[in-house]
């Protein structure tokens, strides 16, 4: 006589459903874990509230921040920083603009993706306002100045003297 396997089958089926659900639950789990642990990847597309009056500005240290722009996949826009370099004190707010021009005849939507080098500096560059936080749309032959407000956290390691903030422009027309 073969024993009934019904209980085992039920347990296994529940395990499968549970694991499947776990896959979906991973999204909020990752979100909260990455936020609490401050793991890179989630820190650059969030605006950081910053009150400069209350901040500590390190006056005796200067960091050179360079700005670079690249168009990905032959995006037919003009895209460049209007200021190429800034010397900033950690803690003080810096402000500059990037020029963007849609050189086609039709409306396009782009997404700028930032990349910071050296990598260790990435989490110390805090942006308060950035055109990279969201997609930008321009009609044909329109142009605009896109602002960027950021500051360097005073905890930035001493060895970092130059930071390069690079934006790559991607065409996301038609994508959500």
């Amino acid at each position: 006589m073969v024993k009934s396997h019904a209980k085992l089958v039920l347990i296994l089926a529940l395990a499968v459903i549970g694991m499947f659900g776990f896959g979906f639950a991973l999204v909020p789990i990752y979100n909260s874990l990455c936020q609490t642990l401050g793991i890179n990847g989630k820190t650059y597309n969030r605006a950081v509230a910053y009150d400069e009056k209350k901040a500590v500005i390190v006056k005796d240290r200067e960091v050179l921040v360079e700005f670079v722009a690249t168009n990905n996949g032959s995006v037919p826009w003009a895209f460049y920083p209007e200021t190429k370099k800034l010397r900033v004190h950690p803690g003080e707010i810096a402000k500059l603009a990037f020029y963007a021009e849609n050189k086609t005849n039709f409306s396009m939507t782009v997404q700028a993706i930032p990349s910071i080098t050296p990598g260790i500096a990435a989490k110390y560059l805090k942006k308060t306002e950035c055109f990279c936080f969201t997609q930008q749309t321009l009609n044909g032959h329109e142009a605009m100045d896109m602002p960027l407000l950021f500051h360097l956290d005073p905890d930035l390691p001493e060895t970092v003297k130059t930071i390069t903030l690079s934006y790559t422009l991607f065409d996301v027309t038609g994508k959500k």
């Binding site: 990847g41 597309n45 993706i113 080098t117 990598g119 790559t168 994508k175």
Partner: protein, 536 residues
């Protein structure tokens, strides 16, 4: 194959019957399609591997023919890239893994005194997925747009946004092959943990069984990761996700991390059973027990565990942070310690033994020499600053071909020559075996040693044409590759001839062989150890 197993039935075993096979072609097909016998299924896996070996080997010869001299001659660069991609995929997933699974199927039940695998029907399904998977994979060469052309490593976005439509079919084939491996591994673990003959503790198991036990755990851990990676590829291609696409917040490097988290343990999946085979063959032909059995087990476990924390060594030039580079450099270097222990133990097994050099031993000894050379270049590759000059050059190609060809493939040859007499009841042709060995070992070095020089001189990987200063070594390599490729026909001939006829052998076969499988007649009955043996 059915002929072999119905001859030579040991008349001392009662209630023994051969395979149930009906009449004619239909009977033949039904027997092989529905078999749940571990010996039959082992045979199926081994024949799949043999066929794949020649198909993937032919692709290698297309590559080497193209690289014989500078200038595009035979194939266009896109087809060349398809050849390199499919050569890699087929050799790893279509040759080595099925071959070792076939060895596992044949040997594990006999070595532990079990009548069959724990889950025989699952065993049948595990195999039969594979011909479909590989037919699908091979068919991609004929799809419009061509076959996958982005290397077996499938880096995004070359494999997502810029890849041909056949990529989706390749992904499907990989899923099927992964499921097969996972099911097979579950079967192996269940068998080894539950069905050992009474008295066979874990620390009395043969090394081949140990290495397969560990390999099976590795497979269960990593195949889902590969499945995840290729599913994310599929999602990026068709379902609007951006896992590997910076525009949507993703990162091409994420693919590399996920892939290599699978990929590095995968290469240990390929090599651990080879270690197991060598640990069986050398003691037999040295007439001396394996040196340091306990340390061999611990070393194998250490290698398996360490293999999970080294994956970034494939990505040193991608811009990972300094801390990561240092960590992974140290862990990668560390793997050489347990690997070294194994090599020292094999040498110590041979030392003060009384060696004879039948073909299996020749391949096993060559393994120790040449795998170790591959290990040395592996250590050099672990050093990050030096790796910057080696990464993506022929130095890497030389390294992994040394560990895979005169390493893993030679171990498979050794295993085949070693166990074929047991499986078939006939001794193979020793002269032909020796010709096969010497042609192989010489040509394999002619083919792959110059690749070290090419890499150091600056020749990148995966290029169909090269600068003139790389000509001479490329020519030599191609000559060696062709000799090696054609020499394998000797092996094929020997295997087929041995199955059909040959000098009859007794159960012991090899004077120094120890282990439960050698207590069975040659060939063993269709169902062996229906009564568990006693272990002293």
């Amino acid at each position: 194959m059915s002929d072999v197993l119905t001859h030579d039935i040991d008349h001392d075993v009662h209630d023994d019957h051969g395979p149930e096979q009906g009449k004619g072609v239909l009977g033949f097909i039904k027997r092989w399609l529905f078999t749940t016998n571990h010996k039959d299924i082992g045979t199926l896996y081994l024949w799949l591997a043999m066929v794949s070996f020649f198909v993937a080997g032919a692709m290698a010869l297309v590559i080497r023919a193209e690289l014989f001299q500078p200038g595009l001659r035979f194939v266009d660069p896109n087809f060349f890239n398809q050849m390199t991609t499919l050569h890699g995929l087929m050799m790893l997933f279509g040759v080595v893994m099925p071959a070792f699974t076939g060895m596992a199927n044949w040997q594990i039940p006999m070595m532990i005194g079990a009548p069959d695998m724990a889950l025989p029907r699952l065993n049948n399904w595990s195999f039969w997925i594979l011909p479909f998977a590989f037919a699908l994979l091979g068919s991609t060469l004929f799809h419009s747009g061509g076959g996958p052309n982005f290397g077996w490593t499938m880096y995004a976005p070359l494999s997502t946004k810029f890849a041909p439509p056949s990529t989706d079919f390749m992904i499907f084939a990989i899923h099927m092959m992964g499921i097969s491996s996972i099911m097979g591994s579950i079967n192996i673990i269940a068998t080894i943990l539950n069905m050992r003959a009474p008295g066979m503790t874990l620390m009395k198991m043969p090394m081949f069984v140990w290495t397969w036990l560990i390999t099976a755990f590795l497979l269960i851990a990593i195949m889902p990761v590969l499945a995840g990676a290729v599913t994310m590829m599929l999602a990026d291609r068709h379902f609007g996700t951006s896992f590997f696409e910076a525009a949507g917040g993703g990162d091409p490097i994420l693919f590399q991390h996920v892939f290599w988290f699978f990929g590095h343990p995968e290469v240990y999946v390929l090599v651990l059973p080879a270690f197991g085979v060598v640990s069986e063959v050398i003691p037999t032909f040295s007439r001396k027990p394996l040196f340091g059995y306990h340390f061999m087990v611990y070393a194998t476990v250490s290698i398996a565990l360490l293999s999970f924390v080294v994956w970034v060594h494939h990505m040193f030039t991608t811009g990972v942070p300094l801390g990561a580079e240092l960590f992974f450099m140290y862990t990668t270097m560390l793997i050489s310690v347990p690997t070294g222990i194994k090599v020292f133990n094999w040498v110590s097994t041979m030392f003060k033994g009384a060696m004879t050099f039948e073909t299996p031993m020749l391949f096993a000894v060559a393994f120790v020499f040449l795998f170790t050379i591959g290990g040395f270049t592996g250590l050099m590759l672990a050093l990050v600053p030096a790796d910057y000059q080696y990464q993506d050059t022929y130095f890497v190609v030389a390294h992994f071909h040394y560990v895979l060809v005169p390493g893993v493939i030679f171990a498979l040859m050794a295993a085949t020559y070693y166990w074929l007499p047991k499986w078939t009841g006939h001794m193979y042709n020793e002269t032909l075996g020796k010709w096969h060995f010497w042609l192989s070992v010489i040509s394999v070095n002619i083919a792959f040693f110059p690749m070290h020089f090419l890499g150091l001189a600056g020749m990148p990987r995966r290029i169909p044409d090269y600068a003139l200063q790389f000509t001479n070594f490329n020519m030599i390599t191609t000559v060696g590759a062709f000799i090696f490729g054609f020499s394998q026909l000797l092996f094929l001939y020997n295997v087929i001839a041995t199955i059909r006829h040959g000098k009859k052998v007794d159960g012991q076969v090899w004077e120094g062989a120890k282990g439960l499988e050698w207590t069975l007649p040659s060939p063993p009955p269709y169902h062996s150890f229906t009564v568990p043996p006693h272990i002293h």
